[in-house]
């Protein structure tokens, strides 16, 4: 029968998420809308608990006959993604309440999406990988169009769905080619088999599929539209949790599944990475909508994050985790800030609406400034150290052109981050925003604090953790 | 069957199979003529009429007269119709209705193709029946037929689900999808028939309701009253058959009745013990020649099928037509959960007692 100890050691967080999700479906079916408010908080608690479980079973294990395998590397990613997903869910209820769309399905879909992330992260088999990706994607499509009466949200969902289905098809086709040429779906067995032209084909297709899920360059077109159209709490989730998870999955696939073939994929990843940086940085220059701007910014940041992936497992793994962790925290804080942009008429999303925010909300402005500067990579904020780590990894792997591009792209992107800061600090004050939900304001401030140099300890501790996690990958 | 062909040589083997099929079809068609008459007679009796009584003694030849009349009429094809699909639809309906009969065992060993997945085959072919109706309704290029065919398709797809689950309960009890084995599992007398399942005592509480659900779903699946909304004459004239006349109409009718009789045969096979009599008489059977035994089996099979058909006919005469939303509600909100729960209970029972394997 089933080996429950192994299952718990390997996929305890996912088990918890599914259990809560199914239970919530059942309760929700009977209680209907009365369940909604509780469901948001319960779902967030379940996500926090799942993050804790991922840390508790840090060493991981193997279960279901090798369909899932975990190690500290993925458990770290799980903990971070579930944690930020939990925060994104916790702060979402006020927004939906005001829009009259407070429905209990939202947290359920979020739980299932998180389950998909966890399963993908744990995957050590092509089939598990695909199933996990599909669970995450299906939930995401629905979440993106959750405001079904708003044409923009519906459009975002539709675009995401059509392109996502294409990407899933690519991933699946690549996976089936890999299976066809190696005769196995197990990561280890595939890694052990010889690299041929057919396998290369499969690998490239799989890379394109995964690139879509992290919104890297040639597959990035959905990002700005979805970021702009989808409800803000959903974007807060999209920009943080799945990014973290899918990036680590990407790395995991490259490091373990195609670990022997570094020479074959290094260039491909480097090109994707460079293209993402360029498109992300230059695309954002002319944006006036802050959500759209953050969409382009995320494309650029995925480009940076792909540098350590291209650098390979030994050099890149710790800096990838460090960079992504700091990026998702900053991104979450930024979107919490966007959630506060509310006037009597509803939400506003134009950058100019932030004018003179320093007069009315000094603390929040300070926090947002720190977050933006950190994403831009200004020393001595956290983002700088993360980027420095990435650059060092790139240099160590001899990816000099890529590192140069990274630096140039960073300089270019400083322009638009600084523009937002300038609007907040020096422009004529606009009408004051309505008071924010306490949880939202708290998230902004905490995320801002995490970026501060006074919390250098945070970087130190985090760096220790990521190193430890990456060690787990090496073993 | 291919084993049989290999055993007897391609020529002889194929010929035997073809003759088997032909025999089966002819017998079925002749039987159908009288079944049609029975349907009308029952209907008439409930209404205290006499029913068809002019052609032949007691009107026995009525169906043949109708047949001749349909054949001799002109085939009218509407000008705007999609000719190929229009003519293909009734042919498809009838062909599929015949094809399904290939796996039905009417007596020990008397079956055209004794395949492993017989139940699934029947289920698959009956699920194809919807195409004839949709195609016919669409190709007529007219509103009433199209509305009728849409209703019919939705109805058939909905009720297929519960039929599927009911079949699963029987498969679980038997442990095989082969129809002959399903019949043989009920050979121990009337108490072992799956409709009663007294040999798995508490299961009668599940299996008898399943039998009823199957019967009602079969009514819906074959568009019989009280679920004949696709051809509800008060709303849709005659549904998908509005534009059909002559032989194509005949083929539709034929396919419909073949499907009804097939459902009766399926009920007999799955729930009423197939060709087995209500009390097993092994001594008597041993002393008889095989042919007599088989004929007796066939007689039992036919009798049970006729009983089921009688139920179909009497329901048609007695029950008023459902409203469409009630029909959908019944299918999705009552039959589906009930049959799903039954699958759960029966599989739990099978695992707990280990009756199978």
């Amino acid at each position: 029968m089933l080996d429950w100890t192994a299952i718990l050691e390997t996929v305890a967080p996912e088990t918890l998420l599914v259990a809560v999700g199914l239970l919530g479906t059942l309760v929700g079916a009977f209680l209907k809308e009365r369940f909604a408010r509780v469901a948001f908080k319960l779902g967030a608690l379940a996500l926090f608990a799942a993050a804790a479980l991922a840390v508790y079973y840090w060493e991981g294990g193997e279960a279901f006959g090798g369909l899932v395998t975990t190690n500290p590397f993925v458990n770290f990613a799980k903990a971070v993604s579930f944690g930020v997903a939990g925060v994104a869910l916790w702060i979402a209820d006020g927004f939906f309440d005001r829009h009259g769309t407070l429905r209990f399905e939202y947290p359920l879909l979020m739980l299932f999406a998180a389950f998909g992330m966890g399963l993908t992260l744990s995957a050590s088999d092509l089939m598990t990988l695909y199933m996990g990706v599909e669970t995450l994607s299906l939930s995401s499509y629905v979440l993106a169009s959750f405001h079904r009466d708003s044409p923009r949200s519906a459009e975002a969902g539709l675009k995401y769905f059509v392109l996502g289905a294409l990407a899933s098809g690519l991933l699946l086709y690549g996976a089936s080619l890999v299976y066809g040429f190696t005769g196995s779906t197990n990561f280890e067995e595939i890694a052990g088999s010889e690299m041929g032209i057919g396998l290369l084909f499969g690998m490239v297709l799989m890379i394109s599929g995964l690139a879509f899920k992290v919104s890297a360059a040639p597959m990035h077109v959905w990002t700005p539209d979805v970021y702009e159209g989808a409800p803000t709490p959903v974007v807060a989730f999209f920009s943080a949790a799945p990014k973290m998870a899918m990036m680590v999955v990407f790395a995991n696939v490259m490091f373990t599944l195609f670990g022997e073939a570094v020479d074959d994929w290094q260039l491909i990843i480097a090109i994707i990475s460079g293209a993402s940086m360029v498109i992300g940085s230059f695309g954002a220059l002319l944006q006036n909508n802050i959500k759209r701007l953050m969409g382009y910014s995320s494309i650029a940041n995925m480009g940076y994050a792909l540098v350590p992936v291209a650098a390979g497992a030994d050099i890149g793994a710790p800096s990838l985790l460090l960079f992504m962790t700091i990026y998702v925290i900053a991104s979450l804080g930024m979107f919490a800030g966007i959630l506060m942009m509310r006037r009597t008429g509803g939400m506003v999303e134009d950058i100019s609406e932030l004018g003179g925010l320093i007069r009315s909300r000094p603390v929040v402005t300070l926090a947002l400034t720190a977050i933006l500067l950190s994403i831009a990579g200004i020393p001595p904020l956290a983002g700088f150290w993360a980027k420095l780590d990435v650059i060092q990894a790139g240099m160590a792997a001899g990816l000099l052109p890529l590192v140069i591009m990274l630096v140039i792209a960073s300089v270019v992107s400083c322009y638009y981050y600084l523009r937002v800061i300038k609007v907040m600090w020096f422009d004529e004050p606009m009408e004051e925003f309505q008071s924010a939900d306490p949880s939202v304001a708290l998230t902004v401030v905490v995320c801002g604090l995490l970026m501060f140099p006074g919390l250098m300890v945070f970087i130190g501790v985090l760096g220790g953790w990521t190193d430890a996690a990456a060690m787990g990958l090496a073993n | 069957m291919s084993a049989f062909i290999q055993e007897h040589g391609i020529l002889f083997g194929t010929l035997t199979v073809v003759i088997q099929i032909a025999l089966f079809m002819v017998v079925l068609l002749i039987a159908l003529a009288f079944i049609l008459l029975l349907d009308r007679k029952v209907w008439a009796a409930v209404m205290m009429r006499k029913g068809p009584n002019v052609v032949g003694p007691f009107g026995l030849m009525q169906s043949f007269a109708d047949f001749g009349k349909f054949l001799l009429k002109e085939i009218v094809i509407p000008a705007g119709a999609n000719k190929t699909v229009f003519l293909l639809a009734p042919i498809l309906t009838t062909t599929l209705a015949f094809v399904a009969w290939a796996v039905v065992p009417v007596a020990p060993g008397w079956v055209v193709a004794d395949i492993n997945v017989g139940v699934l085959y029947l289920f698959a072919v009956s699920s194809l029946g919807v195409y004839g109706i949709i195609m016919g309704g669409w190709a007529s290029n007219s509103k009433y037929p199209f509305l009728g065919s849409l209703r019919s398709a939705a109805q058939m797809v909905s009720y297929e689900v519960s039929i599927g689950f009911v079949i699963v309960t029987v498969i679980l009890l038997v442990g095989s999808m082969n129809l002959t084995e399903i019949v043989n599992a009920q050979g121990g007398g009337i108490w072992t028939w799956h409709a009663f399942a007294l040999d798995h005592f508490p299961l009668i509480l599940v299996m008898f309701p399943m039998f009823v659900i199957f019967f009602v779903s079969a009514l819906a699946e074959t568009n019989r009253p009280p679920f004949d909304l696709p051809e509800a004459e008060s709303e849709l004239v005659a549904g998908y058959q509005v534009e059909y006349s002559s032989t194509p109409y005949l083929l539709f009718m034929l396919g419909e009745y073949l499907n009804i009789v097939l459902m009766c045969a399926l009920m007999t096979t799955l729930f009423l013990g197939g060709w087995h009599g209500p009390v097993p008489l092994p001594e008597l059977a041993e002393n008889m020649p095989v042919l007599v035994n088989n004929l007796a089996a066939l007689a039992w099979f036919a009798a049970k099928m006729l009983f089921c058909f009688f139920l179909f006919a009497i329901v048609k005469a007695m029950v008023p037509r459902y409203r469409y939303d009630q029909l959908m509600r019944l299918g999705w909100k009552i039959f589906l959960p009930t049959s799903l729960a039954a699958v759960l209970i029966v599989s739990g029972y099978v695992v707990y007692t280990g009756v199978q394997s």
């Binding site: 199914l22 599909e134 | 391609i10 699934l120």
Partner: protein
């Protein structure tokens, strides 16, 4: 015998697939598609995978294609108009088609090949599938269920609307209604009205 059957069926599958994209009438396209599905099922029977074949018919032909047909019949889209201009992409289409074809050929020649045993380690196809599905791939089977659940929740979230003005039948209330709830006996004095 089986080889002949294979070639006949294979030609039908291929031809039907070509007609799916060549047919001018979208409904005809779907009908060709159904023929193609159905014949593929027959091919599966030929290699001994009868359970899969029946499932293909039940699921794809019996349910999915019916919905396809539904949608196509209701849409009334002029596909000829839609298709205009697609012809200029044919070089790409041919290229992609050739690439896929080459890959399939390579899988058969360079790759490890496929094992064509219909029911390894069991008497029947259904048993073999069941044994693998509920043991080795239990996790994936369950996850597939969850994916379907997510799809279901998604469909409900995106489409279910409670219309307050729609009249609904409440059978319980209907049957619980008594005469006293609905009618009242009034003594009307002549010339006064109620």
């Amino acid at each position: 015998m089986e080889v002949i059957a294979f070639w006949i069926l294979a030609v039908i599958v291929g031809a039907a697939a070509v007609f799916v994209i060549a047919a001018r009438n979208p409904v005809h396209s779907v009908l060709w598609l159904i023929l193609s599905f159905f014949t593929s099922a027959a091919l599966l029977v030929l290699i001994g995978a009868e359970f899969l074949a029946m499932l293909l018919v039940v699921v794809y032909v019996g349910a999915v294609a019916v919905l396809f047909l539904f949608v196509v019949m209701m849409l009334d889209v002029d596909f000829v108009e839609l298709k205009q201009g697609t012809l200029q992409y044919w070089p790409f289409a041919v290229l992609i088609g050739l690439a896929f074809f080459a890959e399939i050929v390579m899988v058969r020649t360079v790759g490890v090949g496929t094992r064509l045993e219909p029911s390894p380690g069991a008497d029947s196809n259904a048993e073999a599938i069941g044994q693998v599905m509920y043991t080795d791939y239990l996790l994936l089977f369950q996850v597939a269920g969850i994916i379907l659940l997510v799809a279901m929740i998604g469909a409900i979230v995106l489409t279910l609307r409670h219309r307050p003005y729609a009249k609904r039948q409440n059978i319980a209330r209907q049957t619980a209604r008594r005469r006293a709830d609905a009618t009242e006996l009034v003594d009307v004095t002549p010339g006064k009205g109620i």
